[in-house]
Each structure stands twice: as C-alpha cells, then as structure tokens.
Subunit: 214 residues, 4 copies
DNA sequence: AATGAATGAGAATTCATTCAT
DNA sequence: AATGAATGAATTCTCATTCAT
C-alpha cells in the first residue's frame, strides 16, 4: 500500500510537472514569450500557482526548460540526420532544409526561438540553444572536412556561422504579421538552404550531391 | 540680444536632447537594455523625468533612437567600405572584419545590439537594424555577382545569411560573462571573416583578394 | 476539515472584496470622487494595492461598482415604493420625497452621485445610474397615465425630466460648503416634491392624494 | 508716442486674453473638457504657455471663465425672451424650446456644459451656471405666478426644477456617440418642452398659449 | 510682456513570488 | 503536496505650474 501510494504520488508529481511544462510550451507556441505569465501557465495546466513553484524554482527556470525542450526536440531531429552514413554534403543539405521547413511550420514558436525578445532570465538558455544548434552541425562539418568535401578551418566558428546564416533570413518571414504562401515557403527554403551550403561546402562537393539527390 | 537669447535656448535644448540620448546610450553600453529605465536615464542626463518626455514621446521611442543611432554609426562605417572601388571580395572581407573588430571592442553594446533581448516596443527598430546591416552588404554582393566573383542567387537572402553568419558566432564571445584576450579576439576575427567570405564569394576570387591585401 | 478550510478562504475572500468595496464607498462618501485613489483605498481596506486589483480589474471598475452599489440601493428603495398598490400620485409623491430625504442625509455621497464630476471612466456608470433612476419612476408614470391621473406623453421623457427636476434643485444645497439646518431641509424637501409632482400629475389627482396622506 | 505705445500694448493684451479665451472655448466645443490642456490651448491661441498664465492664474480660472462665457451667452438668449411682453406661458415655452434647440445644435459644447464630467476645480462655476440658468426663468415664473397662469410656490425651487427637467433628458441624446436625425431632434425638442411646461404652468394657461402660437 | 523649457509630484497598473491553511 | 490569496516593489507616463532669459 505504502509503496503504491508513493508510486501514485510520484507519478502524480511527474504528471503535474509535465502538465506545467506542456502548458508553458503551448503558451509560447501560441503567443510567444509575452503570453507567458506564471498565473496563466498554472491555469492552463490546471494546477495552482503554488504548484508551479513547487516544480520550478522561478519563472526563468520554467521557461528555460521550455526553451531547452524545444531546443532538444529540434536538434534531435537534426542529429538523426547528422548520424546518417550519407555523404556530408548530402546530410548537410538535408539538415538545413529540414530546419527551415520545420521553422516555417510551427511559425509562432520558431519566431519565439529565433527572433523574439525574451525575458532576460531566459537569455542564457537561449544562447545555449543557439550553441546546441551549432553543435548539431559539428559532426557533419567535421566529416566533410575529413573527406575534403568541406573547407577546412575552425569547425566551431563554421557551425556558428551556419546557425546564424540559417536563422537570420528566417527572422523576417517568421514574424507573426507576415503572410506566407506555399510558393514563397518553397522558394525561401531552397534559397536559404543553398546559400548556407556554400558556407562550408566546396562548390564541387555541393553539386555532386545535388545530382545524387535526384 | 534677442537673437543670442534664442540661440542659447535652442542650443541648451539641443544640449538636453543630446544629453538625454547620450545618457541612454551610455546606459545601454554599460548595462544593456536591462539598465534602461526612464528615471535612471533622466538622473544620468541631469534632467527631470518630464524633460525626457519632452524630447522623446515614450520609452520605446527613446531607446529606438538609441538603437538607430548605433545602427547608423555601424552601418555607416560599413557603407563607406562598400562604396570603395576595390574588388568586391576585397571590400567584403574588409567590411566583415571591420564589423567583427568593432563589435569586439564596444562589447556590451554589441551584445545588446546582437544578442540581448530587448523590450518588445524597441524590437521593431532592432529588426530594422538587422535589415539595414544586411542591406549594407547588398551593394558589394551585387557588384560581386556582376563581376562573377560571387555566386549568383537571390542577393537579399545572401546578405541576410551574411548578417546572421556574422553575428551568430559573436553572440557567445560577446556575452558579458565571457573573458576575451587579445589572441582570441584576433583568431575569432580572422576565422569569422573568412568563413563568411565563403558564403558569397567563390574560392578563387577570395584567394586573389587575399594576395592583394598583403 | 478540507471543507472548512475552503469555506474560510472563501469567506476571507468575500470579506476582502467587501472590505475593498466598502472602503472605496466610504472614501467617496467622505471626500467624493477626488478622494478616490487606489493606494488610499487599499490602505483603508487594510490590504495591498495588488489585492485591490485581484478583485477589481481597474480603478474605473472599482468605482463603477461603488456607484452601482449606491445606485442599486437608492433605486431599490424607490422601486419598493413604486410597486405598492397605492394610487400613482401617492406613490410618486412618496418616492420623490424619499429620494430627497435620503439625499439630504448622506449629503457628501449624494453630492458625488448627483453633482460632482467624476473620472471619465466612471462616467458611463453614472449615466447608467441616472437612467436607472428615471426608470424607477417609469412604472408609476405608466400606471398614472393608465388611470388618467397623469398627463399623457412619452413616458421616457417624462421620467427623465422628473429625475432632472428632482436632482437639480438638490445640487446647490448638497454642495459640501453649504450649511443646512433642519428647517431648511424640511422646506426644501416639501417644495421639491410638490414641484416635481406637477411635472406628470394633473392638479386634481395630486390634490386628492394629499388629502389621503393626511 | 508713449500714450500710443501704451494703447497698443493694452490692445495687444486684450487681444491675447481674448485669443486665449477663444482658443480654450473652441477646444471644449470640439473635444470637451478632456481636450483641455494648457499647452494645447496656448498653441491654439498662438501664444506661449507662460502667457496663458499671465492672463489666467490657473487652469481652473481659465476654464471657469470659458464656462462662464458660454453660460452668459446662453442665458443671455433666454433672458431676452424672458423680457418680452408676451404672456408668461408663451415666453416660457419659447425659452424652453430655444434652449433645447441650441443645445442640439452645438452638441459637443452642450454635452460639456450639461453632462460631461469636468475638472474638479471648475466645478463651482458649473454649479453657478446651473444656478444662472435657473435664474433666467425666474422672471417668467414670477410673472406667471402673478398673472395666475403658473402655479404658486417657491419660485427658486421651481426654476431649479425647470433647469434640471430641461437638461436631464438631453444628457443621453447629446452624448458624442449618439446619432441624431432631424426627426428625432424635433420630437425630442417638442416632448421636452411640453413636459417642462407642466412643471410650472397650469394646463389651461399652457393650452391657451399654444393656440396663440399658431 | 513674452517665452517655452524644465520641473517632479502623482497615479495606475503589473506580476513574480511567498506562505498560511 | 497543493492551493491561490496576498503582497508591494517597480515602472511608465502626465501635465499644471514655474521662472530664467
């Protein structure tokens, strides 16, 4: 009995923690960082404000975790691509276009992650997320440098540039006010991907891949 | 007499407006957007809160102007480089490394301009600053495409990528917590510049320039 | 246990809301709309400013409710009289004199309700109060028109005129600066009532009633 | 020379005072009491803020005078009617309908004078204006009582009631949000006038007059 | 007499966090 | 463990009035 009760309590706790985190994530996904007040999160999660503070020591901690969650999800998708055995240029192109496509879907959240100002306290985690995103490209870049398909040079700088070059041209189009049709999305996606490719990939290697893709 | 009186009043007014703007700019340069409260700005400028509102209709307006001032200053420097008659690749390399160097000096301000979240009301101007920065590279990129030194493709995407690739690898090092020595600054500067070059510039054209530079 | 706890909390909440409302009402009753600052209300109610905002979304909302409370109280008294089975003229006279008497007691509040300017945000409710006051007379007037004791004509205009004719001669005497003795109060009350009677009631019907009253 | 200079100065002073007063009046006539800030008045009058304070010791003083000006203008029109030799009931009806018509033209100003909350400091003058309006009817009422056309009773109360009965039903229709067409204006005007007549005028006397008017 | 820049007290409102129950 | 009422510091913005020039 005692054991089961404990188990229930723990699982209820897990539940609450998850519910709160999910609620917070949803709010950001819908209204960005501005939407994010502790009381609202609590209400949305169906718990009290006090409970939010039981599981998260502060607002910054909660939303940092939200950011980290999304960060992990997105970099996870890219990491899978990075671990393939395909040619580095192929993997890179795939990773880049995947990032752009996913951003242009979940737009509001992507905007929050990429361009929207957030609470100063969450800031550090945002930097971390950008670092992680860079890192995701690291394996691909290193592989490419090894095969000679990619330029040599400090791979950390290269990947950071990659991340920036990927996000910056998205900032405008992701803005909540912007209207995006299917055609524009495709064009944007292609253009950004190809431009970013050049950042690390020699023209020859890049071309070769394109042929293979077809 | 009347003339001088008027002149004095006007110059005092100019003074005050400038003093307020300068104070606001200094505060951002020292403590980022977080430092930015109207009352503090007033005190620092040596005027009353009301006077701040005489010259700037709102907090957002004041700090937008701060942002615009820095933006104009920085893009101005780059624009001068862009208008040179040198080879596009040369101009580009010069512009890129100038941007990085200047950022790594005024670090706190650069961090505010590049990575730190700001008030939503100021955000619009921040977007504008990023757009202007992209635009600064536009002339160079178009020239380079014309001469064939640069890759073809949508120049607007290319310049946005350029801006992102330039700023992103700076975000980490600029963070107020980071320690930077002379050596690291140089390495960083060189590495970022060369990586960004590749985004738009064919390897041949890029090399050629390097020789010329020496 | 749990039940009692909940009950206590709820009753405490009711208490606080009431305390705040009561405090706000008292302040108006003592110093009119000028006395009405959120911080002062909070202090007087013995709660924090934040608590005031927990129960009332804005200053306008709080004081609108104050106004509505008084409005309901006063029109309630009159409505009871209106629903009597007595002759319309009798009911009307009774309602009018009751209104005047009550106003000449709670003078400061009556002044606030009748003559003192209030914040524009509260104004809508003040208009509503005047409308309600008119409406209170509506049943009596319609009954009187049916029995032929009252003049015919648009009853809505008649009741509005009635309300105005009732309040206007009170505005001066209610002014906080004015001194009122018992005699003057009586005379005023009688005079106003009888004058207002004539607005809707034919002389014959009015007289008849007077006899009955004695 | 000196004399003429003085004369000029004085006339310029008169000019300025008038200009300021006129500007203030216009502002109220256009946007009500809310529109009324000293700086705006100054700008509109084409003088400096300081000059406004040269001629009017305070905001309350300025706008009290605005109120008094309009008050005088309106009561003046009514006073002329009151001084006629026509039958009291005729004069009264004429005065009442004139008041209503004029109000339904200059609506914004009428709203400010009758229904809109104003600055507390102007309050006293507003009471005064209402008193003056009452007083305007005094001569007519006294004449009517003398001829026996009007009911007897305290004429001061009667006239105050008259003023209230006249203004109250106007408060709603004058609201800046309300739409008024020609038909409604006529109906309103007639209804209010006739209802107010009954306040002081016996039915017989009132009828007689109507015939004469035709 | 005129100017208008400067003043600064005040007022409303927000929301992360705490803690008694 | 859960609740959610209470807290109150912090911040922006307004505008009548003053006074040096």
């Amino acid at each position: 009995m005692a054991y089961r009760r404990t188990a229930n309590v723990i699982s209820r706790m897990r539940d609450n923690r998850s519910k709160i985190l999910a609620a917070a994530l949803d709010m950001v996904a819908e209204g960005g960082w501005q939407n994010a007040q502790m009381a609202r999160v609590a209400r949305r999660a169906g718990v009290s404000v006090g409970s939010v503070y039981r599981y998260f020591p502060s607002k910054a901690a909660l939303f940092s975790e939200v950011l980290a969650t999304v960060s992990t999800r997105e970099t996870g998708v890219l990491a899978q691509i990075a671990e393939t055995n395909a040619k580095p240029a192929f993997r890179l192109r795939r990773a880049l276009s995947t990032f752009v496509s996913r951003a242009l879907q979940g737009r509001r959240m992507a905007y929050a992650m990429i361009a929207e100002p957030c609470e100063p306290g969450i800031d550090a985690t945002k930097v971390e997320w950008r670092r992680k995103l860079s890192e995701t490209f690291l394996k691909i870049v290193e592989d490419g440098q090894r095969t000679g398909d990619f330029y040599s040079g400090d791979p950390l700088t290269a990947t950071a540039c990659l991340a920036g070059a990927l996000m910056e041209p998205l900032a405008g189009p992701l803005a909540p006010t912007e209207e995006l049709d299917e055609v524009r999305v495709r064009a944007l996606s292609h253009e950004i991907t190809e431009t970013c490719m050049r950042l690390v990939c020699t023209p020859d290697a890049a071309c070769e891949v394109e042929e293979k893709e077809q």
